[in-house]
């Protein structure tokens, strides 16, 4: 079971309270986690990564296990603690604007 924490605005958009818990088939990567998230919550498509290019939106970051994984390959395995559900994947809105 993969745990994902979304920014407040995306929780509201998807009508989620608290963490999301997802079953992910195969290797646990940014891509496979986001695929599972968007499949369960289609209203989130396009809000975290571009519909076509699949690139992370510039003002969002991916944190896990006290590391910034935003610039890792989307197909790189996420840390074991994420894959086992010990730690959540944090999708964080960058601090910007007023």
């Amino acid at each position: 079971m993969i745990r994902v924490v979304l920014p407040a605005h995306l929780r509201t958009l998807a009508r989620i309270d608290g963490e999301v818990k997802l079953d992910v088939e195969g290797q646990v990567t940014q891509r496979s986690v986001l695929d599972a998230l968007e499949s369960r919550y289609p209203m989130l498509r396009g809000t975290i990564r571009d519909h076509v290019t699949q690139k992370r939106r510039p003002f969002l970051r991916f944190f896990a296990c006290e590391q910034d994984l935003s610039h890792e390959s989307p197909d790189a395995p996420l840390p074991d603690a994420i894959a086992t559900g010990t730690e959540p994947l944090l999708i964080v809105g960058a601090i910007a604007g007023g």
Binding site: L13, P42, M43, G97
Partner: protein, 394 residues
Amino acid sequence: MSTVRLLVGTRKGAFILTSDGKRKQWDVNGPHFGGWEMYHLKGSPADPNRLYASQTSSWFGQVIQRSDDGGKTWNAPGTKPEDLMGPDGMPKGVSNMFLYDTSAETGRPLTTHQWYDGTQKPWEFKRVWHLEPSLTDPDTVYAGVEDAALFRSTDGGRSWHELAGLREVKGNLWQPGAGGMCLHTIMLDRKNPQRIFIAISAAGVFRTDDGGKTWRPANKGLKSQYELPDPDAEVGHCVHRIAMHPSRPNVLFMQKHWDVLRSDDAGESWHEISGNLPTDFGFPIDVHAHEPETIYVVPIKSDSEHFPPDGKLRVYRSRTGGNEWEALTNGLPQRDCYVNVLRDAMAVDSLDPCGLYFGTTGGQVYGSANGGDSWAPIVRDLPAVYSVEVQTLP
């Protein structure tokens, strides 16, 4: 008695203001989508409880929202609870996907437009500025977007398709205004369903007579001596807003960056009607619901000072189709007022007497229940108002 419903988009959410036909007491409902930029909300003329809304964010991009109950509940089209468990499987989640159409069948190559530094830049979708529901079909709605293009949905906002022929009209010469290269006005012709007018900053007015397949510029008579090297250019003008009375779709009114103009031949030619306005810079322009020669603008001091002249918030009314203007000040602040009124932030209802409404960047929404003779604030302290639309309900 009739009900009036105002749909107000602001920098930090949407608000729905309702009143009975007297338009004295208002109920303020919101914020909806608090914290998001709500560029525009508009109801379907064919089904007034069908509302569309453009919700945007620098963080999360574009979201389209739809209400089927007059704004009580909202969903991204295709993601109602019953859609998520529907017989067709899970929705594709493409209600916020605005892809420029580059297909061989209906599209055009992804060309470039002018950028601020004079270089050419490929079209890149940023947000939806304006939503214009069909006059007859609640499931058909047009979207004006930045970078400037026109999209249409025929499935209630679940998916969108670009009418790509528009980009072909000298698109390489279009350029962004200070707010971005936005398609901000879409006007549908009640008498000719094949005809649509659109306006872009800074490209100008364009017209289609075949339902959006082909387009041509409609900017003859516009003069932009301070904005363009060729003041009479066919495209490139910074048109801020156009308006028409539904009974006379060949008569158009325009607030350009500088200059107020009119066309009596469906945009074939324009002539200036700024007359005695204290300044002819501004953003919104609108037409009285029952008097097609009565028009309204809000003069703003200049393009470098986006506030009213002399700190006085004044709507100007012409009852003669332009040139002769009177200041409407009763109930509006006449000192120390330095707000702006944006292009989509004025609307008229269809009651008699006609009601007018506008919102300011200072968060006030003002209303008049008598054609502009007197005004009162409906609400004073909203976030900066981006757009105001009004529905007159039976």
